[in-house]
């Protein structure tokens, strides 16, 4: 097809004789073609296959139509016959006779069981195909009627005739007559019986409503508009005429001039304001319905067109010409779209730019209307999105292809026209960098690189025959030519790589930008970003689109399937498609796509298969295990796949069938399974295969078993010989004797080296010469004599050969039979182990966090060591933080006068950003980051009474270090120092603040948990340090909101309690070993007290249980039953792990018998008190105390003025304005 103007989007073409009639199936991808040769063809135009041929007409067939719902079609031909066919039974059901000349067109009514036919006998007839009768004959035309069609909704018929007129008929009378079957009077029935008669005279069934005159030659075709009261007709006067009608009249609207030969057929576009017409001038012409101007013309070289038909729903048309039919679409359906992160930008059929959010599954309102872009009848072809500028590049195809650069509004506010746009001509336009785009002009073969103001910054000639360009990674272009793909470096203006792939039309980049899929009509080629081919695959069905899964699997769509391809080229079907879709994004089980009408759709897919294969390729056993456990991935295909791909050991896991299991087990050398299966099946063939395999493995025990099963005594004997198993060998000899198998006996005797036995055997079978020779050669003279005697011969009568050395059977060096050869550890993969539940890390249940040996070695009692099981403590910090005053006092030291940073005087250094931080913030951490240590210390001193800074030094330096980066700039100069901000979006230098490492969230998720872990694991020294570290880190820190200040307070309180608790327990352990302590009553008392105090700080309940348990055991061991009882009661009250509870209950029962303390200690279980963090003695409520202004730890008053034992920074009893963490 030569198209003048734009290229034609042909979907299907057939070769045949002249095609006179065409009909689309309303649902299936079928088209019926009525041929001049008397044949009717049924084609699948999607697959391009001829489904059936119907040949019963005698002479040319002209009219053809599918029924909308029934499996029927109708045809009419030059044999005057109308035939109704079933395409299911592939037979003609019946023939309607009546016309007296050629039948030109036949059409089904859209709801009534009627067929409308037009004929050269000048009549138009309506037939009922259910009772196969003629119900109406419309006369009036006085020449051939060329075409007659029902109105799609109303009771109207329109007809065209060579009498140069178009007639509109009212058939409402006919409908009334045939649709009121219930209460029919006798008269009606009579009237009905005589209807034909009545028509001839009264003619009330079908009356002419309008006669449209205007054509001055015969009219060939006529059609109603699907929705509007319009009619279009085509005639031999080479004109296409448009008519309009009202209730009462009809008139000519306009004429479309352009055909220069007879116009054969015409129709209205089902959805758009277009008229299509075909003619003997070998053209298809598209007209604008509103302006009646030509929109497009497609010309064919040699063939005249005879008929055109439109698909009722989708954008497809079919034309019949001298040499067959052609199915085509008028416009590209592929919606222009681009994906950026979680958004899809696309252009609807109304030319509206919209975006779709994959996360929220939500469509945006219209962002922009592109009504004015390009020609009104050609949709935008491509869209390229620039996230940095939030702008789009849209190209439109057609005669004067152009691109347009438009900024998207921040949010959609309806269909607004773009306020300003930059445009130019070019076939392809894509963004290649944040501020550059490339435009390809195919006719001049030039690529321009333009900046955002649309001025060309450079331009170059691409390789010859360039058809399209795509993004090629930063600074590069992918240039497509019909035979090659080039990777072109824009900077160096040269092709850096090329790959011979024919006909690439689309390029789809993977999400990580490392791979690209090149799509051509029937091939998918996966390449790396440097254009090295990774894999390629061929599809017989046309490939439409592709997208990449996040895991690096390519999903692509063909006309009827969604398929996947792995990097190694493995591919398979994911699901079938009812209609064409354009994939844009794959996420989990959702596959996002745009359909033909450019609406986003979500397809559900099952990614199991390709996920599994991918996991297999990547040897990601956890993933595979997960898939196996959680999906129904079984069946022959996966087994065959695994086997084929060389993973029999994995396939083994899926198979139940013993035969297959045996095969797989042999293949992967899993002898245990093979033996098991062989036993189950017990077939000789299997045993021998197993034997051979086991022998190859050196597993002679299995070999032995197989030979036993197979009763292969000779092989068994030899096996015993070679493994050195003499006892079994002699048993074999006995068996042989028992069986009377002399050969076997001889063999065994030979193996055993038992000469007597051999001689005996020979004698038994009367082979005396051999017996004699054997005896002789082994020097058994007596035996020789006895044989001679027995045979009555003398030595002289014998001629003896020379006798060599007697045979001694070889001895194995190693007694192999005792055990198997040390075979290589069986190839039990981690995967198999996981399946067998042997690998803990892979088990899907959470590991119970084991905490063991928490000081129990000294408390070892009769019940043996107790293993404690403590669940992971929730990150929630204790609610009641000690009263730590974070008053809203005015911070007096805030320095509020800013230096004028805008000063413009030239020369002279200015202060760095870091110095500004100290001015911008009253938070100590910001001063530290700014390097202003003095002021930071001053702040801390005033806020929380910090006096001893040495422990804070690491934290100070940490904060300081985190805020400076080093940017390499000009060669020869030191790097530029830049300052890292936590206020990333802030540009006002008076508001910027530095980043502070290990912020509150980090501490709560990392350090705090490390602290808990140390507690659980009984590493108190570590835990003590960790919690102190947390306190130091919070002291020099900053948070982002008031609510975080509260969280910080909680964290401080918690860390402080833990520090005290651990300090108590550590000091108890420092008293000495249990023996030493036991001998010194003072120490014993102190030890018991400290263990009791250990239970006081407000630490997490599971941890407190540990403290209580430890205290209980210690008390119990020292016969302080009363204390032990109170601890046991508290443990029980706290609840939790059953083991601990049980332990406590036992103790409780034991102690209740004798609730007395052997050692008096200072611990009143009923009094309320806190622990002094310095002396670790109780501070009973009511007595005065001092505390640390930072961490809230309590002290006896005598410690006032010394450094806090918990944070080691602040002065006890010194009050401040409160720690500032948030400005």
């Amino acid at each position: 097809m030569q198209a003048s103007g734009s290229t034609m989007l042909t979907k299907f073409e057939s070769k045949s004789s002249r095609a006179k009639g065409i009909a689309f199936h309303p649902k299936r991808t079928w088209v019926l073609v009525a041929l001049h040769s008397s044949t009717i063809q049924l084609w699948d135009y999607r697959m391009g296959t001829l489904i059936d041929r119907f040949e019963e007409h005698d002479g040319p067939v002209r009219g053809i139509d599918f029924h909308r719902t029934q499996p029927l079609f109708v045809s009419g031909g030059d044999d005057y016959k109308i035939k109704v066919w079933s395409y299911q039974t592939r037979r003609c059901l019946f023939t309607l006779n009546g016309h007296l000349d050629y039948v030109r067109t036949v059409f089904f009514h859209h709801e009534l069981p009627w067929i409308l036919s037009s004929s050269d006998d000048q009549t138009i007839r309506i037939w009922n195909w259910q009772n196969r009768s003629l119900i109406c004959t419309m006369t009036g035309h006085n020449h051939y009627t060329m075409c007659a069609q029902f109105h799609p909704k109303e009771d109207l018929v329109v007809s065209a005739s060579l009498d140069q007129s178009v007639r509109v008929w009212d058939i409402s009378g006919l409908r009334k007559k045939h649709s009121a079957p219930t209460s029919m009077t006798y008269e009606d029935q009579v009237a009905r019986a005589n209807q034909n008669q009545a028509d001839m005279f009264g003619n009330t069934d079908a009356v002419v409503k309008f006669v449209l005159e205007g054509h001055d030659r015969g009219v060939n075709w006529v059609a109603f508009h699907p929705t509007m009261p319009l009619i279009v007709s085509a005639g031999d006067d080479r004109l296409v005429k448009l008519w309009r009608m009202s209730e009462t009249k009809a008139w000519e609207v306009d004429t479309c001039r352009g055909h220069f030969q007879n116009v054969s057929s015409c129709l209205f576009h089902p959805h758009q304001d277009l008229i299509l017409s075909v003619g003997e001038d070998k053209t298809i012409r598209v007209w604008d319905l509103n302006k009646r101007t030509a929109v497009q013309t497609f010309k064919r070289e040699n063939d005249r067109f005879w008929v055109i038909a439109a698909h009722p729903e989708i954008n497809l048309f079919a034309v019949g010409h001298d040499n067959g039919v052609m199915v085509f679409k008028l416009e590209r359906e592929r919606p222009a779209s681009a994906v950026y992160q979680n958004n899809l930008f696309y252009i609807t059929k109304e030319k509206h730019v919209k975006s779709y959010d994959f996360q929220k599954n939500m469509d945006s309102p219209t962002l922009l209307s592109l009504k004015k872009l390009g020609s009104p009848w050609s949709p935008p072809r491509t869209l390229s999105y620039n996230p940095a500028e939030r702008s789009i590049l849209v190209t439109s195809a057609g005669d004067n292809a152009s691109y347009e650069l438009i900024n998207l509004p921040r949010d959609g506010s309806g269909a607004i026209e773009p306020t300003e746009s930059k445009r130019g001509s070019g076939n392809s336009a894509i963004f290649v960098a944040r501020n550059r785009f490339a435009v390809l002009n195919t006719s001049t073969q030039v690529i321009d690189i333009k900046d955002l103001s649309n001025s060309t910054t450079r331009s170059f000639k691409p390789p010859v025959g360039t058809t399209d360009i795509y993004f090629g990674g930063t600074g590069n272009l992918l240039i497509l030519t019909p035979t090659h793909v080039h990777l072109y470096d824009i900077q160096q203006k040269k092709s850096v790589a090329e790959l011979a792939v024919a006909g690439v039309k689309y390029v789809v980049w993977s999400n990580d930008g490392l791979y690209a899929a090149l799509l051509s009509k029937h091939n998918v080629t996966i390449v790396t970003k440097t254009l090295e081919q990774v894999s390629t695959l061929h599809e017989t069905i046309r490939i439409k689109s592709a997208t990449w899964d996040d895991t690096g699997v390519l999903l692509y769509s063909t006309l009827n399937h969604v398929k996947y391809s792995l990097m190694n080229g493995d591919n398979g079907i994911v699901r079938t498609l009812e209609q064409t879709v354009y994939l844009v994004r794959a996420k989990g089980r959702n596959l996002y796509c745009l359909d033909r009408t450019a609406k986003p759709k979500i397809l559900q897919i099952d990614p199991t298969e390709y996920r599994f294969k991918l996991a297999l390729v990547k040897r990601n056993y956890e993933e595979m295990l997960h898939i196996i456990r959680n999906s129904s991935l079984v069946g022959q295909s996966i087994i065959a796949y695994l086997q084929k791909k060389g993973y029999p050991e994995i396939a083994l896991q899926f198979v139940q069938d013993p035969t297959t299991r045996f095969e797989l087990a042999i293949e992967c050398g899993n002898l245990d399974v093979a033996v098991e299966m062989a036993k189950e099946l017990d077939r000789p063939k299997l045993w021998s295969r197993l034997a051979a395999e086991a022998l190859a493995h050196g597993n002679h025990q299995i070999v032995e078993m197989c030979y036993q099963k197979l009763k292969q005594f000779d092989k068994l004997s030899f096996l015993y010989l070679s493994t050195g198993d003499h006892s079994k060998l002699s048993r074999m000899a006995k068996i042989a004797e028992h069986r009377g198998d002399f050969t076997s006996r001889f063999q065994n005797a030979l193996y055993l080296g038992e000469v007597e036995d051999r001689i005996q055997m020979f004698k038994e079978i009367d082979l005396y010469p051999l017996a004699y020779m054997t005896a002789k050669s082994n020097g058994l003279e007596e035996e020789c004599q006895s044989i001679l005697e027995a045979t009555g011969l003398t030595e002289d009568q014998l001629t003896m050969p020379t006798i060599g050395e007697p045979l001694t059977p070889p001895k194995p060096v190693v007694p192999t039979y005792k055990s198997n050869w040390p075979t290589k550890a069986t190839s039990q993969s981690i995967f198999e182990k996981a399946l067998l539940g042997q690998v803990e890390g892979l088990s899907l249940e959470d590991d119970a966090a084991g905490a063991n040996g928490f000081g129990l070695d000294e408390a070892a009692d009769d019940e043996g060591p107790t293993k404690r099981d403590v669940g992971l403590v929730d990150a929630d910090v204790d609610e009641d933080a000690a009263g730590w005053d974070m008053g809203e006092d005015v911070v007096p030291e805030v320095d509020s006068d800013f230096v004028n940073v805008e000063s413009t005087e030239a020369g002279g250094a200015s202060s760095s950003e870091a110095e500004l931080w100290a001015r911008n913030s009253p938070i100590a951490a910001d001063h530290v980051a700014g390097g202003s240590f003095e002021t930071a210390m001053q702040l801390l001193n005033r806020q929380v009474g910090a006096v001893h800074f040495a422990p804070l030094k690491p934290r100070f330096l940490e904060v300081y270090q985190a805020s400076r980066t080093f940017l390499p700039a000009s060669a020869g100069l030191p790097p530029l120092v830049n300052y890292v901000r936590r206020t990333v979006d802030e540009t006002d230098l008076r508001k910027v603040l530095p980043i502070v490492p290990r912020d509150l969230e980090f501490l709560a998720t990392n350090d705090l948990h490390r602290g808990y872990d140390a507690m659980k694991a009984n590493r108190l020294d570590d835990g003590y340090k960790i919690f102190k570290g947390i306190l130091h880190a919070i002291l020099v820190n900053a948070v982002s909101s008031e609510s975080e200040v509260d969280e910080a307070k909680k964290l401080i309180a918690s860390a402080s309690e833990y520090t005290v608790a651990m300090g108590i327990e550590l000091s108890r352990r420092n008293l000495g070993t249990p023996d030493v302590v036991a001998q010194d009553p003072e120490k014993l008392k102190r030890s018991l007290e400290l263990s009791a105090y250990f239970t006081i700080p407000k630490i997490e309940v599971p941890h407190r249980q540990l403290a209580l348990l430890s205290a209980m055991h210690l008390a119990l061991r020292n016969k302080n039953y009363n204390s032990a009882l109170s601890f046991a009661n508290r443990i029980i009250a706290n609840g939790g792990a059953s083991k601990i509870l049980e332990n406590a209950r036992k103790t409780k029962a034991q102690c209740e018998r004798n609730p007395h303390d052997a050692v008096e200690i200072e611990f009143d279980q009923f009094a309320e008190f806190e622990i002094c963090a310095a002396s670790y003695t109780p501070i009973y409520s009511g007595t005065s105390y001092e505390e640390c202004a930072f961490d809230g730890s309590k002290y006896h008053t005598k410690y006032k003025g010394s450094v806090c034992r918990v944070c080691e920074v602040c002065e006890i009893g010194k009050h401040g304005s409160g720690l500032k963490l948030f400005a």
């Binding site: 250094a909 940017l967 000009s970 790097p975 830049n978």
Partner: protein
Amino acid sequence: MDPYSAEGELINIHNHFHQGQYQEVIDYDTSALSPENALPAQVLVLRARIALGQFEDVLAEVQGESEPELASIGALAQQSLGQTDEAVAAIKTLAESHAGNSTVQVIGGTVLQAAGHPEEAIALLSQHQGSLDAVSLIVQIHLQQNRNDLALKEVTAARRWAQDSLLVNLAESWVGLRQGGEKYQQAFYVFEELAQAPATSSVASLVSQAVAELHLGRTEEAQAALEQALNKDPTNAEAIANLFVLAVVTGRDPSKMRANLEAAAPTHLLLADLEEKSALFDKAATKYSAKVSA
């Protein structure tokens, strides 16, 4: 025609130099260049060799050469060898006699700035006639002086007459990293574009990309870029220094990086600064003590 412009002969070698691809500069085939471009190309090659640490070789090579370009290269090499005073003296003489020579300006500016004479460096550089090398140096000097305002002015002015130049993009990004906000992202785009394209990728551009990412708070990406940089050059001081900072920012133990840095560049800015701050801390801490010693 300006040989460094987009159509000029020296565009690629010049870009290689400023992208930090020094080896590519040295390997660049200069034989096909027209005679008037031979000397500028040679200067670039010599500067690249100095950047790669071949100070003595270069110094020996230009010894006794009379062209001001080569003489200034000699001064640069001297300074890199630590002979700062001689270098500065040589540059000052050259500046008097050949102040209009752009190579003398650029190299002189570098030497003077590195020797701690920013005012003189600016004075020499500001005599340039549309040299982007000079502009970018001026921008850097302003930034080192913390005069972001002046640096911004300089870049904006240069943007007007040399829009598409690599150096303007780079200098603008340097300024952007000081301005922050959206400018971080824009700077990132520039560095990423250089770092991720195989033809322009270098350690310097990778480190720059990582720095931009660190400022944007994207620590994982920054880590990846720095590791890429270290793969190319395991002893790159800037990459190690920034990795050290990154470790601190993400709350990991930075001591290994610190040891690496001490091994690779014992005189690095970061180490000197930390030394100084450590002393400062100790001094400041002595002012405070508890009333009662425990």
